[in-house]
Amino acid sequence: METALSATVGIFFAVAIYLMLSKHIIRILLGVAIFGNAVNLTIFTAGRVMREVPPIIPEALIAPDAATANPLPQALILTAIVISFSFFAFLLVLAFRAYQELGSDDTDTMRVAEPESEDLPPLGY
């Protein structure tokens, strides 16, 4: 199972990175969304996987009596999903506003922060 998931994670990352290497902001955003899933799957797989046994303690017991899925990565990912979603939403709006202001969604032409030609810094003391 881990083998298959590792391969899946690899493919997720490859697709995400390919999209993020694009110059069009919308493709980059799609890449970021997929990247988030890839990272979550990585954490999930690294904690080892087990089928169909959620980490829940039976009513009568104080601790689980049989092996369950690893709860720790699940807790981490739960946090990660929410944060990556807020991040994604922020990026999305930022991209949209940038497009409105600059009239372009091509990252090559969005150069407000680092303009094309900059003067030499002053040479005095």
């Binding site: 899933n37 202001e101 900059e118």
Partner: protein, 781 residues
């Protein structure tokens, strides 16, 4: 290591820094008269060190200290012998006079308190430098002198010339300091000895070490920059931008002698080799001649003195490296004499500047009647500088010639260099001391009259010092010269020279020097023109070179910045992911951490199906030609991941993932209606292939890494802890939920904060139409 009773020396080492802390407050209360109080600090230090005189004169040394970084074998330690004691006495003695002088010179200056702070800090640093035993102690104080010198040169920071001079001094001496550090560490590494006292005991260890030459060059890199040896001399005249007390103290009497101190300190363990006796005289002699020639060129009193200081430092290095016992003794005598007469002359120049408003020697004349005490101090100092009896400078000069002339060609050449240098220094010294005071009266910007006691006390005491130490030469030799010379030579020596001239070759050479000096003095105006013409012809100098180097550095860095930070996002992304691939892949191969070949995964049918759906979603995102397809495909891969979580025992994750993916798709659909998704891939084929390669390698590497991780045994300590304690401690059956809200509750709080801030930021982005009111009306509805 620390013996009782040494705490007082430690206290004295720290005292100037304490003084620096209180100086501004004292100035606020007492104005410039705080100088009298602050001068008590160096005076007390001077008194403390005089207590060592008799024991050091008997050949004893004091090595003490405290453990500083025991794990690295680093001590804060000091070493008092003839050499460091003489330096300490000069630093504290002249320091007291300088503090007084500063009070008079900068009277009423708004930053007088700051100035006293800086000068006391410098005093502490310089004192620490000469007393330091451990290499690191030495280095720390060495750098502290560079930093305080920077602060003092740049004291008048509103002028660009000041700032440039300060930066120049810091860069030149700072680079030298790094070279010194490397040299000291190399010595430490080769010999295993980390302190001067240990090194001096193991005399032959360093000279026979394999990397002796490298260590020598590195250490000299520090000494030559600090002591302004050619071609690093240029920072010293520029440092004259500092207020005159600084020039008198740092840049003639003390700091610039740090390099000479270092060379003298190492003479017993590094000297007596061909390299030592070649490099030092050659650089020292060149500096001597270049310095005096440039001094002739100047018309500014301070600059004339500054260049003669450069040449004096050259003379000291030349004498120390010459190799004969007498030459080393001469270096000792000259160093003491120079500290006194040059400090005095600088203070005289400052006094003239202060009272007349100019330091230009061509615009001064006949003020001797108005400033008799300053005139007297100047003449006393100049006689010592010129090497006339019965002054200490005379003793030094006799000893120089006695030490240098050995009848051979090499010693003849060096002697000739010394004669020419001394004669020119004689001329410049007397020009500074006589020209402004004698001759017809010249109108000066301010009406000249004698300055207050604070201004003439220092130069007068130092001028008289040159006379008294010579007249009482048996005493000054016993307590000062002999112990110091013994430390420089490495074995006990006895200096016998006195003010009574002995007929012999040294006296003849002295007379020659004086005759030559008088000729040069009379022809000084002519010589100045010749030198000015020569320098114009040469045009380029190290000072200009410094500007070019700094300008070049700025240009190179801005070019590099422009290449590295091109301002294009896809470059940054490409570089980031190439670096990521290399960082993960190369170590995996180098350390043989590639995963073992796994068995073909045995998945159930529906698991394969879910994976297939995910891949189809991914592929569709890649190939989407219109917005809707892209959004829906993104949703498909997200839901597939949610299903995967569901199948693998993570219902909470699955539920959250479903919600988040749904929300993402909705928001994306809202926003993307305004954004263009280019119908075809915009990238040219070559670029596309490159991007595919980078993405594929990154994906493969990350996949391999994950596979490798899953192949090593799993440590489930943490997971087991949560399983054990979820119900027992936190009373919850759903372990994941318990972790989130209880065990790692603070994390969740942080997460909520992130979501909230992101929400606020989004709101702000949507609401604010920066500087575009027309747009706001259009888009706001």
């Amino acid at each position: 290591m620390a013996a009782d009773g040494h705490w007082l020396t430690f206290l004295v080492l720290m005292l100037p820094f304490a003084g620096a802390a209180v100086a501004p407050f004292l100035v606020r209360s007492f104005g410039h008269n705080a100088a009298w109080l602050l001068a008590l600090i160096p005076a007390f230090m001077f008194y403390h060190f005089t207590g060592f005189l008799s024991s050091v004169a008997n050949g004893e040394t004091v090595a003490a200290g405290y453990s500083w970084i025991p794990s690295l074998g680093v001590d804060f330690s000091w070493y008092i012998d003839g050499l460091s004691l003489t330096f300490a006495l000069l630093i504290t003695g002249i320091g007291a006079l300088i503090v007084l002088y500063s009070g008079g010179y900068l009277k009423g200056h708004p930053h007088l308190g700051r100035f006293f702070s800086f000068i006391l800090m410098f005093m502490g640093a310089m004192q620490g430098l000469v007393l330091a035993d451990g290499f690191l102690t030495l280095f720390v104080f060495w750098e502290l002198t560079s930093i305080t010198s920077f602060l003092l040169i740049g004291f008048d920071h509103v002028r660009e010339a000041s700032r440039r001079a300060a930066l120049q001094a810091l860069i030149v001496t700072g680079l030298g300091g790094l070279s010194l550090l490397a040299g000291l560490l190399l010595i430490w590494n080769m010999t295993g000895l980390g302190s001067m006292s240990a090194l001096l005991e193991a005399e032959g260890a360093l000279r026979e070490a394999p990397l002796y030459l490298a260590a020598l060059l590195l250490v000299l890199g520090g000494a030559f920059t600090k002591s302004a040896q050619f071609p690093f001399h240029f920072w010293l005249p520029n440092a004259m931008e500092a207020p005159t007390p600084v020039s008198a103290y740092l840049h003639s009497a003390t700091m610039v002698k740090a390099g000479v101190y270092l060379v003298m300190r190492l003479n017993p363990v590094m000297g007596d080799t061909v390299a030592w006796e070649t490099i030092l005289p050659v650089f020292g002699g060149t500096t001597l001649i270049v310095g005096t020639l440039l001094a002739v060129r100047q018309t500014d009193l301070k600059l004339m003195l500054a260049y003669t200081t450069v040449s004096s430092l050259g003379l000291l290095i030349m004498l120390t490296g010459f190799g004969s016992e007498k030459a080393a003794e001469a270096a000792v005598l000259y160093l003491v004499a120079h500290s006194m007469f040059k400090g005095a002359l600088f203070m005289v120049a400052g006094g003239i500047d202060h009272e007349t408003g100019t330091r230009d020697i061509t615009k001064l004349g006949g003020i001797g009647r108005a400033m008799p005490i300053t005139f007297a101090a100047a003449v006393l100092a100049a006689i010592s500088m010129g090497g006339l009896p019965p002054f200490f400078g005379f003793l030094a000069k006799e000893e120089i010639y006695a030490g240098l002339w050995q009848g051979s060609g090499w010693s003849g050449l060096i002697t000739l260099v010394a004669i020419v240098g001394n004669a020119l220094m004689f001329a410049v010294g007397f020009a500074v001391a006589l020209k402004p005071f004698t001759g017809p009266k010249v109108e000066t910007p301010k009406h000249a009259h004698e300055g207050p006691i604070l201004l003439w006390l220092g130069p007068l005491v130092l001028g008289l010092g040159g006379l008294l130490t010579a007249l009482a030469s048996p005493l000054s030799h016993r307590f000062i010269s002999n112990p110091m010379a013994s430390a420089v030579v490495g074995e006990p020596v006895e200096i016998s020279i006195s003010v009574v001239p002995h007929v012999g070759l040294p006296l003849l050479l002295s007379v020659m020097t004086i005759a030559l000096g008088i000729t040069a003095y009379l022809a000084l105006a002519r010589g100045r023109e010749i030198m000015a013409g020569t320098l114009r012809t040469i045009g380029w100098g190290p000072d200009l070179g410094f500007d070019q180097a700094i300008g070049g550095t700025v240009r190179i860095s801005s070019t590099v910045t422009r290449v590295v930070q091109s301002g294009r996002l896809d470059y940054y992304m490409t570089a980031t992911f190439i670096a990521l691939a290399l960082a993960l892949f190369v170590p995996m191969i180098l350390f043989g951490e590639l995963p073992a070949l796994p068995d073909f995964p045995s998945l159930r049918f529906y698991e394969w199906t879910v994976l297939a759906i995910a891949f189809i979603g991914l592929g569709a995102v890649l190939h989407a030609r219109d917005r809707l397809t892209a959004i829906v495909s993104l949703g498909i891969q997200g839901f597939a991941v949610a299903l995967l979580f569901m199948l693998l025992g993570a219902p909470d994750l699955s539920f959250t993932q479903f919600m988040v993916e749904t929300l993402s798709v909705v928001i994306l659909a809202l926003v993307m209606t305004r954004l263009r998704l280019s119908p075809t891939d915009h990238r040219p084929t070559g670029e596309k292939a490159g991007d595919i390669a980078i993405a594929a390698v990154c994906g493969a590497t990350l996949g391999l890494m994950l596979l490798r991780v899953t192949q090593i045994p799993f440590d489930d300590t943490l997971s087991a802890f949560f399983a054990e304690n979820s119900r027992a401690i936190a009373h919850g059956r759903n372990i994941v939920n318990v972790i989130i809200v209880d065990f790692r509750g603070l994390d969740t709080l942080g997460e909520i904060a992130v979501v909230m801030i992101a929400g606020l930021a989004i709101l702000a982005l949507v609401r604010i139409r920066a500087g575009k009111p027309a747009d706001a009306r259009k888009g706001g509805g």
